[in-house]
Amino acid sequence: MVDFGFGLVPSSRINLDLFDKDKYEELAAVEPDVRICMACGSCTAVCTAGKFSTTSLREAIEDIKNAQPTKALELLKACQLCGKCSMVCPRGINTRHLILSIINTYSIK
């Protein structure tokens, strides 16, 4: 193989064809609230850890639905489970359990 000093760049495009439906259904079975997020961002706005680190439950849910679970896990690593997000969520999502369930479902065990 020839090294040209440049090469193919991995795409940042979301490819929904890669979405793992079974895994998602597994998550939705333990925490159905994952379905009802409407991406308002309240959780991210109040996040205790978000002040110091890049973390966003809203984004993580989005990443899960966008077939990018690794990104979601990376975002949720900083969570301290303080629960502020659950207090502000307009849809009443059990955010703490959702966070734990995402990590639990998508972490490679």
């Binding site: 193989m1 020839v2 090294d3 040209f4 440049f6 090469g7 193919l8 760049v9 795409s11």
Partner: protein
């Protein structure tokens, strides 16, 4: 795919193309990338069709590459363009035909800008007089050279010695058409067939017996992207663009790519080599690539011109399998001989791309 649906759209994007008396300006880069293409254009239009095509050695670059690389002010580029137009008027022409898509887009853009901002036009008029002592003029018709071949596609088909057909199977060749982004994406009404389903090359292929392949990434850029290519650090993006197109067209197994832009055939051709040599992936059968030709080269082939006279040896992807399919007779020993019979020098063999 519903063909009638496309026809309906094509019928809404028809462009008036004058019959004769054209002022022709060449492309900066095509002359070095595919040097015989423009010569073939002149040969077909002048010799085969008997049209009046005027050329002058006084014309320059349109400034497009510099413009799209953000290295030249807009007023400067507009003044260059005004000078081109002034030359046309000076030699008594009003039908401006350009060989380059970048130029074509830039001319369209400039003329639209002048229309929207007459004060800018006035300033350019002044600039032109101050710098070149030339009278400002605007073409009556602005035409891309492929528009002209499109217009005469049926006349060419009438004179053709062969069709875009696989002589062994009798099947029409599967052709991918790639339109330069600046042809109609900016101003859909300026191109034949509009922006979503351009007809300019489709019309040629259909007239010459080929079959068009419509693949998902048809609209995608070839990967040139000016700054993406010029800066080595960005070339990964350029080649990735091309890669995306090839991945998309691969299942359709095209025999040929036809293009109407200076950069596109170059990148669709050369990046096949880079992809092959850096990843091992080739897109034609048996380790071959997919030949990416200009429309003049394709026209020349159906007209029965010698492939080496058409400059097909300057392509990275070997054209021999295509020539075999079309039943074109060629002398392999002459491939790398110049017009004067002197050896041009042969490229080293590739590891992956045949």
């Amino acid at each position: 795919m519903i063909y009638e649906g496309k026809q309906k759209i094509w019928s809404e994007y028809q462009k008036e193309i004058p019959d004769d008396h054209y002022f022709y300006v060449r492309s900066c880069i095509r002359q070095s990338f595919f040097p015989a293409s423009e010569a073939t254009f002149l040969r077909i239009t002048r010799e085969a069709l008997g049209k009046d095509i005027f050329e002058t050695e006084h014309h320059t670059t349109c400034g497009g590459i510099a413009y799209h690389s953000d290295t030249i002010p807009q007023e400067t580029v507009m003044t260059i363009i005004a000078r081109q137009f002034a030359l046309m008027a000076k030699y008594g022409y009003e039908n401006y035909v350009c060989s380059c898509i970048t130029s074509f887009g830039l001319y369209c853009e400039t003329m639209e800008t002048w229309r929207e901002f007459p004060e800018l036009e006035a300033r350019i008029r002044e600039n032109l007089w101050k710098t070149c002592r030339l009278e400002f003029a605007k073409p009556k018709f602005l035409i891309h050279a492929s528009d002209l071949i499109y217009k005469y596609r049926n006349l060419i088909a009438a004179q053709a010695v062969r069709k875009l057909v696989n002589v062994h199977t009798g099947e029409p060749l599967k052709v991918v058409e790639h339109i330069g982004c600046h042809y109609s994406k900016m101003f859909p009404s300026k191109g034949v067939g509009g922006a979503e389903y351009p007809y300019v090359l489709v019309g040629m292929v259909e007239a010459w017996g080929g079959e068009i392949v419509d693949y998902p990434e048809r609209r995608h850029c070839c990967g040139f992207g000016f700054r993406q290519y010029f800066i080595k650090g960005n070339r990964g993006y350029s080649v990735s663009n091309t890669h995306k197109k090839f991945e998309s067209m691969e299942p359709f197994k095209p025999d040929l790519i036809i293009t109407n832009c200076p950069g596109c055939p170059y990148f669709l051709d050369r990046w096949q080599y880079v992809i092959a040599e850096s990843t091992g992936k080739t897109y034609g059968p048996d380790g071959h690539g997919i030949p990416a030709l200009t429309y003049e080269e394709v026209a020349g082939l159906v007209m029965g011109y010698d492939p080496w006279d058409l400059g097909l040896q300057t392509h990275q992807v070997g054209v021999e399998p295509l020539l075999d399919k079309m039943g074109v007779e060629y002398d392999p020993t002459r491939k790398y001989l110049g017009k004067n019979g002197k050896n041009l020098g042969e490229p080293l063999p590739c590891a992956c791309l045949k």
